[in-house]
């Protein structure tokens, strides 16, 4: 796996935005059939689920988060699967950890401390998360503060209003400013697709976010009424593919919110493999935002190893 050059962004290309076509019914049909066209079983399923673990941004984004809670989360990120299971799966030497830990700014120092030396990056949600309605300067300051606190990834939100009114110029400018504020940290731009109204808006917002230099585009904050759905994901990954065809730049993808079951994770992996290729099954280009998904994956893996259905309490909690 070669290290990729970051997406530097492009100018805001209105012609391209105008040419975007998204047919919702056809998108939904593709999403309804895709998981049924590909099935991974047995060893393949176990391996794919292990890969899913490494692509996970293990997340806690609650008002009652405390350092203690984050410590538990980070411990789980370091050792997401029970050692005995890893051994029996023959992957004990693979250093299986989650892709990142994702927290609010206030918890960044704790997470950074807990993950020191593990290579697991800390991601901070920022820029007025989840609504994005604080003044731009404050949002930029928040980003800078999180980067200063050691966050290597910044999950920013867009102002939905700008997408809903098609004020792409302002959106582009705000995101460009955020990207600058991120510095060396990677910027994951949350589109909050559940609040954008149409798939066409999702596609357009994806393009603007990429043109503004996002390293990742991400579906949701997890706080919208509808979060990561396959149709929204398909629209976004197709935008990523076209952006790459047009500019040569790689942009990552992160669905977040509502992904709770191993089976859902497999469907997302299939979507990535089919629409974007195997390179997009690596943590530098694909992440799940999830909190309870890991518990289901652990149980599925234990079932594969033992042939018995697993109990929740047999797996350490985060």
């Amino acid at each position: 796996m070669s290290a990729l050059q970051r997406n530097p962004g492009t100018h805001l290309d209105f012609d391209w935005l105008d040419s975007i076509q998204v047919n919702r019914s056809a998108i939904e049909r593709r999403c309804a059939t895709l998981p049924k066209r590909r099935s991974v079983k047995k060893e393949w399923q176990a391996a794919w689920l292990l890969r899913a673990v490494t692509l996970m941004d293990l997340t806690t984004l609650s008002g009652d988060d405390t350092p203690g809670k984050v410590r538990r989360l980070c411990a789980k990120a370091r050792q997401p699967i029970r050692q005995d299971l890893l051994e029996r799966l023959g992957v004990a030497d693979k250093r299986i950890t989650t892709g990142a830990v994702c927290v609010y700014h206030a918890l960044v120092p704790e997470a950074v401390r807990d993950l020191d030396g593990t290579g697991i990056p800390v991601a901070a949600v920022s820029a007025g998360f989840p609504a994005g309605l604080t003044p731009l300067e404050q949002r930029l300051d928040e980003i800078r503060a999180s980067v200063a606190a050691g966050a290597q990834e910044i999950d920013v939100v867009i102002r939905r209003q700008l997408a809903l009114t098609h004020d792409w110029k302002t959106l582009y400018e705000e995101l460009s400013a955020m990207r600058q504020a991120c510095g060396d940290a990677h910027m994951k731009t949350i589109l909050a697709t559940g609040e954008l109204g149409t798939l066409r808006n999702v596609a357009m917002a994806s393009w603007v976010a990429m043109m503004a230099g996002s390293d990742f585009i991400k579906t949701s904050t997890g706080k919208e009424p509808v979060n990561a759905t396959l149709p929204v994901g398909l629209v976004m990954v197709r935008a990523i593919r076209q952006y790459r065809e047009k500019t040569g730049h790689w942009v990552g993808f992160k669905p977040a919110g509502g992904i709770r079951k191993a089976k859902q994770a497999l469907a997302w992996l299939v979507l990535m493999k089919e629409e974007l290729g195997d390179r997009y099954l690596q943590p530098d280009l694909f992440r799940f935002g999830a909190s309870s998904l890991l518990a289901d994956i652990e149980r599925q893996l234990e079932h594969f190893v033992t042939g018995r259905y697993a109990a929740h309490h047999h797996h350490p909690m985060a």
């Binding site: 047919n23 919702r24 590909r38 079983k41 176990a46 391996a47 890969r51 023959g90």
Partner: protein
């Protein structure tokens, strides 16, 4: 057309097969593979899998090779797909339970077959079972059982039949997986398709038609069942085609004799078991397996009222010829070369998935497969690139693998045909593209194939390949897209892709095809009628429109049952005292009426016409084949008539009535001389006025339907004009029958070539003067007088006439139907007691409107 079946037969003796039988055996059009010696542009990368059995040893070796599985750690790095096999254990158990040998299901029980043939799994090349080769005696026994059962089945009533159809639907669901697995091993289609598409649609079809059985007495109160129906189905959707055939037939009170395709009879046999399981009365459903000879025995059986066939156009033709003149009704669902039209504002990534669904569904062995991509030039290259990338991602392999997109081709003969046609396409200059990966070495597999640089003149752009092969052409404008789309002898389906709803809804009615999918493709539902235009056949399956294929007007059923003759408009008895013979002040020369002009007949001959008392009444032109040709041409020139509004057509029909009324007395005088009765003459004119009003009224009221299909879309069933059609009038009721046939035809937007009553043609030539004064555009009604038997063959054999109504003597029906095969035109021939044209039910109404229209289903998914 020889029967080149390559499946090995163990015990079938070479029976003396008729020509028809041989051809029916061959289920799909085989295009001649010419020019094979031409320089190959690029060799097809398909692995050459010789038809034949894989030795058991090699099979074992292959199995062991497959058991060397990669470790979890390895897969964790490669992230490859692995095998995801569906077990066929229970399907095998079912086959074993039957000793892997089947007879026929006749009269509610299993009847041993005298001869058997092997049914093979096309992916693993193993024999699955031996099934019976149905003989003429088997078919006869099945027909007899059906005949015995039918009165009781009909008498059961709608609700009684609905209960059984409902039970079938439920049991299809209960045996869902077994049916799916059996279908996949028999046919080679991926388990995803049989499990997620075929079998659910089968259950849905029975549910839906349980409903129609329940509602028949209300919604089709004036209709009666046909009796015993013979049904012959293809191998590409074995169980689904069975459902499409059996469900409506049973709902309407018929009993059936069905022959599944010889490649794929197994799910039909399991279905027979389901019929037993639910206690379906014996004889209601009879399944006779066999090849084309069995099919021929069904087609030729004298006590079968109707043949429903799905298969190739070639075999459809043979069936049409074989049944010509027998009075059997036909519904034929035949071949296709359906266009897949992509406009520059389409969502191209979704278009690519549409192509996958269009041509790589069921290995392209789909009669309505979108096999001709027509792409707007501005996006053609972009689309080609996307398609090629997508094709790399397709997976082909064992049909029972839950992670494959494509399975096996059904039989070696089909595979050979695909190879030959692709080669021919390449030889003719097409650019051939196939994915870099290779197909499984064993089994009958063929890779997805894209032929670009294809022109309409290329063979592969014209013939049905019936495999995973799509051709790619370009167009410049919407109107050119329509021209290219319609530049085919077929007319089964079309797919239109654009984000502009104005454009889609403009294009959809212009394409000559029974189903138009807007921004989708290959979607089906029991509530929507499916069927063709042109040489893709006639009749609809599904929806209310499909029910009429399985019932007939009650008056006709009753008249036939009574074997009494309906009253004629005038009989010898009613001929009264002769009025003075007609004496013209100035000699009149009635001419032909073509393209809105009075024209002398091409041949320059006239025929003397007599009145009811045998006196000379006048002369009419003796039209010939050139006059017919000119009339058909004129009818085509008048296509603006159908494109105009229904309100305008209504106005013209009212105006016709107005002008006919103005000449009422003159007409009555003439008709009195023709019919020999003043009363009959008055009645005839008055009823003619009534008819004109009737169809003026109907013109803007014969509405289509919006079908309730189960996903987010509008499925519009439009009643569309057929186009240029011929009408051959009966001798009786010279004015009334003329108007009773012409008026509904033109009310629906058709243009007509009429051969009026041979005995009383002056009623028609007098009428054209009314036409001339009533704003009927030239060419909408063309009248060719002359000898019926001279004119009819030209009409019936005219390949640019899309429908022919024939109300001449029953003895003429055979020729009409036989000659119709040139372009598979729809025919409506009247069998049985003559129609009473004065009767409102027999002489007017929806039956005429239905015959004057095609039902086109347009699927329009929506949602932003």
């Amino acid at each position: 057309m020889a029967n080149r079946k390559t499946r090995k037969r163990k015990t079938t003796k070479a029976a003396k097969a008729t020509k028809a039988a041989k051809a029916i055996a061959k289920k799909r059009t085989t295009a001649p593979a010419k020019n094979r010696q031409g320089a190959r542009k690029r060799r097809a990368s398909a692995p050459a899998t010789k038809a034949g059995r894989l030795p058991a040893k090699r099979l074992e070796a292959a199995k062991t090779a497959r058991t060397q599985r990669p470790t979890v750690a390895e897969i964790f790095e490669t992230m490859e797909y692995g095998p995801a096999p569906e077990s066929d254990a229970l399907a095998n158990e079912w086959l074993d339970r039957h000793g892997r040998e089947f007879g026929h299901y006749i009269g509610g029980g299993w009847v041993a077959a005298k001869e058997h043939f092997d049914v093979r799994d096309p992916a693993r090349l193993i024999d699955l079972a031996r099934v019976g080769q149905g003989t003429a005696e088997d078919v006869d026994a099945a027909v007899e059982a059906a005949e015995r059962a039918q009165p009781g089945w009909e008498a059961l009533g709608g609700h009684g039949r609905a209960r059984f159809l409902y039970a079938i639907a439920r049991h299809i669901q209960k045996h869902h997986r077994l049916l799916a697995v059996l279908e996949s091993i028999d046919n080679g289609k991926p388990i995803r398709e049989s499990r997620d598409i075929d079998v659910p649609l089968v259950a849905r079809h029975f549910y839906h038609h349980a409903g129609w059985a329940q509602l028949m007495e209300d919604e089709l109160a004036d209709f009666a069942p046909l009796g015993v129906v013979g049904q012959i189905i293809p191998w590409n959707f074995p169980l689904l085609m069975l459902a499409w055939k059996i469900a409506p037939a049973l709902a309407m009170g018929n009993c059936v004799v069905l022959k599944p395709a010889e490649y794929t009879p197994l799910t039909a046999l399991l279905f027979a078991e389901i019929c037993e399981e639910i206690g379906l009365p014996p004889g209601v459903v009879n399944i006779v397996t066999g090849d084309g000879r069995t099919g021929a025995a069904i087609v030729e059986h004298p006590r079968i009222a109707k043949i429903a066939f799905t298969g190739s156009t070639g075999v459809g033709r043979i069936i049409r010829e074989a049944t010509a003149g027998t009075g059997k009704t036909l519904s034929l669902e035949l071949g296709g070369k359906s266009p897949f039209i992509v406009f520059d504002d389409a969502d191209l990534d979704s278009v690519v998935e549409g192509v996958v669904d269009a041509i790589w569904f069921n290995q392209g062995q789909v009669c309505c497969a979108g096999s001709r991509i027509l792409a707007q030039e501005s996006i053609a290259d972009k689309l080609l690139t996307k398609l090629r990338e997508r094709m790399e991602k397709l997976r082909i392999g064992p049909p029972l693998d839950k992670a494959v997109d494509m399975g096996a081709i059904v039989a070696p003969v089909q595979l050979d045909q695909i190879r030959a046609l692709v080669q021919q396409g390449a030889d003719e200059g097409a650019t051939l593209w196939q994915p870099s990966w290779s197909c499984p070495a064993e089994g009958l597999f063929y890779p997805p194939t894209l032929l670009s640089d294809v022109a309409p003149a290329s063979t592969v752009a014209q013939v049905e390949i019936f495999g995973p092969v799509v051709v790619f052409m370009t167009f410049r404008t919407p109107s050119e897209a329509v021209q290219l789309a319609n530049n085919t002898r077929y007319g089964l389906a079309a797919s239109v892709w654009s984000e502009n709803v104005n454009l889609c809804l403009d294009i959809a009615p212009k394409i000559k095809a029974g189903t138009i999918w807007v921004n989708c493709t290959n979607v089906f539902d029991a509530a929507s009628g499916f069927g063709g235009y042109r040489e893709s056949g006639y009749g609809r399956e599904g929806g209310k429109e499909g029910l009429y294929e399985y019932c007939k007007p009650r008056w006709l059923a009753q008249a036939k049952a009574r074997k009494t003759r309906a009253p004629k408009a005038a009989t010898k008895k009613s001929i009264g005292k002769a009025p003075p013979a007609a004496v013209e002040l100035i000699d009149r020369t009635p001419k032909l009426y073509i393209g809105g002009r009075q024209r002398r007949p091409d041949g320059g001959y006239s025929l003397v016409v007599q009145d009811a008392w045998g006196r000379r009444l006048g002369e009419v032109g003796r039209g010939n084949r050139k006059d017919v040709r000119d009339a058909v041409e004129a009818a085509h020139q008048a296509r603006g008539w159908g494109a105009g509004t229904a309100h305008l057509r209504a106005q013209v029909l009212y105006y016709l009535a107005e002008n006919l009324a103005a000449r009422r007395d003159e007409m009555v005088t003439r008709l009195h001389l023709m019919l020999g009765s003043d009363d009959a003459a008055r009645q005839e004119v008055d009823l003619s006025l009534d008819r004109l009003f009737t169809y003026a009224a109907w013109a803007d009221k014969y509405d289509g339907l919006v079908h309730a299909t189960p996903f987010r879309n509008v499925t519009v069933a439009m009643n569309e004009a057929i186009g240029a059609m011929g009408i051959v009038c009966p001798d009786e009721a010279p004015l009334l029958a003329l108007i009773s046939t012409v008026a509904p035809a033109i009310a629906m937007g058709n243009s007509v070539v009429v051969v009026p009553s041979e005995r009383h043609p002056l009623a028609a030539t007098d009428f054209y003067q009314v036409l001339e004064t009533s704003d009927v555009p030239g060419g909408v009604v063309n009248i060719v007088t002359g000898l019926r038997d001279e004119l009819v063959p030209t009409l019936a054999g005219h390949d640019d006439l899309e429908q022919l109504w024939y109300f001449g003597p029953e003895s003429g029906c055979a020729e009409v139907e036989r000659l119709s095969v040139g372009n598979m035109k729809r025919t409506w021939c009247h069998y049985g007691p003559p129609r009473d044209w004065t009767d409102r039910v027999q002489g007017a109404g929806r039956e005429f409107l239905r015959q004057a229209t095609h039902v086109k289903n347009i699927w329009i998914p929506y949602g932003e």
